[in-house]
């Protein structure tokens, strides 16, 4: 064996303080950029013009839903048949509807029910998706198989079909009933997303490392898997809120959603349908509002998803 194979000839004692000296210099300048995940996401959101646009729209619509009085002084339920189907004017910005109610105030007041359905359904499905997705993705094997097959079965039923069947048999249908039925039929997509997201994290090295250092299943799920898999689901939940607002309008238009005397965009669309040729603005205004709300939620969802996904960073 040559000289080189003798251990004592190999390595001089190495000063393990070399790196620290260089490191302390950099630690002074590091305050420049704080970088928690949320701070990071917020920074990239602020720079995104689409986020600004959708945020302004959402604030506007949420304001309408919470405090409609701020936007109009007219009572939407004060209807005089004598001024039925008037065109937009200085007094009635959006004209009046068939019953002679001020259409502007009715559209404003309609925001509340539509957005309420959207939020309730989005939060409900979010909870279901996170719990089921986490359990299925983490435990795998038969637990995953059972949950995934049930998800597939529900996914196979079109929500409109399911909602038509269920809501038709209900005597009175309010926000609660419509939201409930929508949750029942619309949770699978988000659950699948969550499951996939969890599976991609479960096999990552830091989960293995956490196990190797003695973390139990609950700790691993809560601290390691959940925060790393929520990003895409949060983004989708926001987009989903927009989808649900559209779905509520669809169901109501089909006559199985909210009922009079409730005020909602879907009901306005439904009522306006027979007068499409004579008074088209009755259809136009609620359509614009539904469209803008859905657009705002979807754009916001995309922006949030991009901001929370570390891989999409430039």
């Amino acid at each position: 064996m040559s000289e080189i194979h003798r251990p004592e000839a190999r390595v001089e004692p190495i000063d393990s303080t070399i790196e620290p000296v260089g490191g302390s210099a950099t630690s002074k300048t590091k305050k420049v950029e704080e970088a928690s995940l949320l701070a990071d996401a917020w920074r990239s959101l602020r720079r995104n013009p689409w986020f600004i646009v959708s945020a302004v729209l959402l604030v506007l619509f949420l304001g309408m839903a919470l405090f409609p009085q701020l936007f109009t002084n007219n009572d939407p339920r004060e209807c005089l048949l004598g001024r039925s189907r008037q065109s937009p004017s200085a007094e009635h910005w959006f004209g009046t509807d068939v019953q002679g109610c001020d259409y502007y105030s009715r559209v404003i007041y309609g925001a509340r029910n539509s957005i309420a359905v959207g939020f309730i359904v989005a939060i409900g499905t979010f909870i279901i998706a996170v719990v089921l997705g986490l359990v299925a993705g983490y435990f795998g094997s038969w637990v995953d198989a059972v949950i995934s097959r049930i998800t597939d079965m529900v996914f196979a039923v079109p929500y409109i079909l399911g909602a038509l069947v269920f809501l038709n048999v209900l005597e009175s249908r309010g926000v609660r009933e419509v939201a409930f039925v929508l949750i029942i039929f619309m949770w699978p997509t988000m659950t699948r997303l969550m499951r996939g997201s969890v599976i991609s994290v479960v096999n990552s090295e830091f989960v293995l490392a956490a196990r190797a250092l003695g973390a139990g299943p609950i700790t691993i799920m809560r601290r390691h898997i959940l925060p790393n898999s929520l990003g895409p689901v949060i983004g989708y939940a926001t987009v989903f809120t927009g989808i649900i607002i559209g779905a509520e309008a669809t169901l109501t238009f089909l006559g199985v959603g909210l009922q009079l005397p409730a005020i909602s965009w879907g009901l306005q669309l439904s009522d306006a349908q027979p007068f499409l040729q004579t008074v088209p603005h009755l259809l136009l205004f609620p359509v614009i509002f539904v469209g803008l709300t859905v657009f705002a939620f979807m754009t916001m969802g995309d922006a949030i998803r991009d901001a929370l996904d570390p891989k999409s960073k430039k």
Binding site: A209, L213, G214, G216
Partner: protein, 367 residues
């Protein structure tokens, strides 16, 4: 040092009168794959004492990491399956223990460091938080107290400005610093056994040396048993006390570091040492071991190294050599270990010119 001394009763590095910290006996691990059952570990034996550094050396696929994961109890089962053997920690068999008591050993008594520190740290949690979690989960400490301990651990592993940096996230650290954080987490609870699975493979050579030095210092300070898993002969030479050379899921040779580097008693070890590029060897070819490690689903009969061995005879293809003593504290699993050890073994074959296998004949391959 005679033929009659077989492996029974001996495990590498057994020191009389000193209870071993960790003892692996005839461990067998299999994986069910589409191609059949892959035997990742076939009868592995080794012993680890307090304050001792055992390097497990082997090329890719020799079962090093599976060994580590089996000891930690984090092997994915299925597809993995422990087909036999025992792993004794202070005399207690880990493999028959229930999962909850094993979990309590992990981190507290037996801890592990992984190869890639960046992917081994949770990207969304501050590093100080992750170290503090060790104290909170295992010791039930309060947040503030645990954080103070975490900062203390960060200082201990040589992270400058630990107090300010505890709130930083893994991606804000350099590779060497990340590995230090991983080490801080692993030694936080003062474990008896530390398994380091290729701890320096993802690092620069200069940082490698620093991290190895740190591991060595901590080991001395805490009197830990350190299992160092690596494929890098250079990393091992400086820090290991004993070396176990693995091939095809078995220990082929185990001895003190000086013995292994000075007088290898197994043709495989010899081949590994010969394949290190030498500074005094001008312009020559690198002497690689020809051929490839055997497929785990289709092991050669007899000695697993026989298709690649220069000294192989008919006996090597039929009879499996067991680990036996060839010199004081030096074990080798070769039928001709004494001859190899003494440097008098007769070459029966030489590498084929294509480098793909061995052909009969004793001359050196023409350059």
């Amino acid at each position: 040092m005679t033929e009659s001394q077989t492996s029974t009763g001996f495990t590498p590095g057994t020191r009389p009168g000193d209870a071993p910290l960790l003892e692996v006996k005839d461990l067998q691990v299999e994986f069910r794959t589409k191609a059949g059952v892959a035997k990742a570990i076939n009868g592995l034996n080794f012993t680890l004492h307090a304050g001792e550094t055992l390097a497990i050396l082997g090329e890719s696929g020799s079962g090093k990491s599976v060994t580590a994961q089996t000891i930690m109890g984090i092997l994915d089962m299925p597809p993995g399956r422990i087909a036999g053997g025992e792993i004794r920690y202070r005399g207690e068999d880990l493999l028959t223990m229930d999962e909850e008591s094993r979990r309590k050993l992990r981190g507290r008594k037996i801890a592990m460091i992984f190869q890639d520190a960046l992917s081994s740290l949770n990207p969304v949690l501050p590093v100080g938080w992750q170290i503090a979690e060790m104290f909170r989960v295992h010791r039930g400490m309060k947040r503030k107290e645990a954080r103070a301990k975490a900062v203390e651990m960060m200082q201990r592993v040589g992270i400058p400005g630990a107090e300010e940096r505890a709130g930083d996230f893994p991606h804000q650290f350099s590779g060497g610093m990340r590995q230090r954080i991983m080490i801080a987490m692993a030694i936080a609870l003062d474990p008896d056994v530390l398994i380091a699975d290729e701890p320096t493979t993802a690092l620069d050579v200069t940082v490698q040396a620093q991290v190895m030095r740190l591991l060595k210092d901590l080991q001395t300070e805490f009197n830990m048993g350190l299992i160092l898993i690596t494929h890098d002969l250079g990393v091992v030479a400086d820090v290991a006390d004993k070396i176990a050379v693995m091939y095809s899921g078995r220990v082929m040779e185990a001895a003190d570091v000086y013995e292994i580097y000075g007088k290898p008693g197994h043709p495989y070890t010899q081949g590994l040492l010969n394949s290190i590029p030498r500074i005094d060897d001008e312009g020559g070819r690198l002497r690689a071991i020809s051929g490839l490690p055997p497929s785990l689903t289709d092991m050669p009969s007899g000695c697993p190294f026989n298709p690649r061995c220069e000294f192989a005879t008919d006996r090597c293809t039929t009879e499996r050599p067991e680990l036996r003593l060839v010199a004081e504290g030096h074990l080798s699993a070769c039928h001709y270990a004494e001859d190899v050890y003494a440097g008098t073994a007769t070459r029966t074959r030489r590498p084929s010119p294509t480098g793909a296998g061995m052909i009969a004949g004793s001359e050196e391959a023409p350059e």
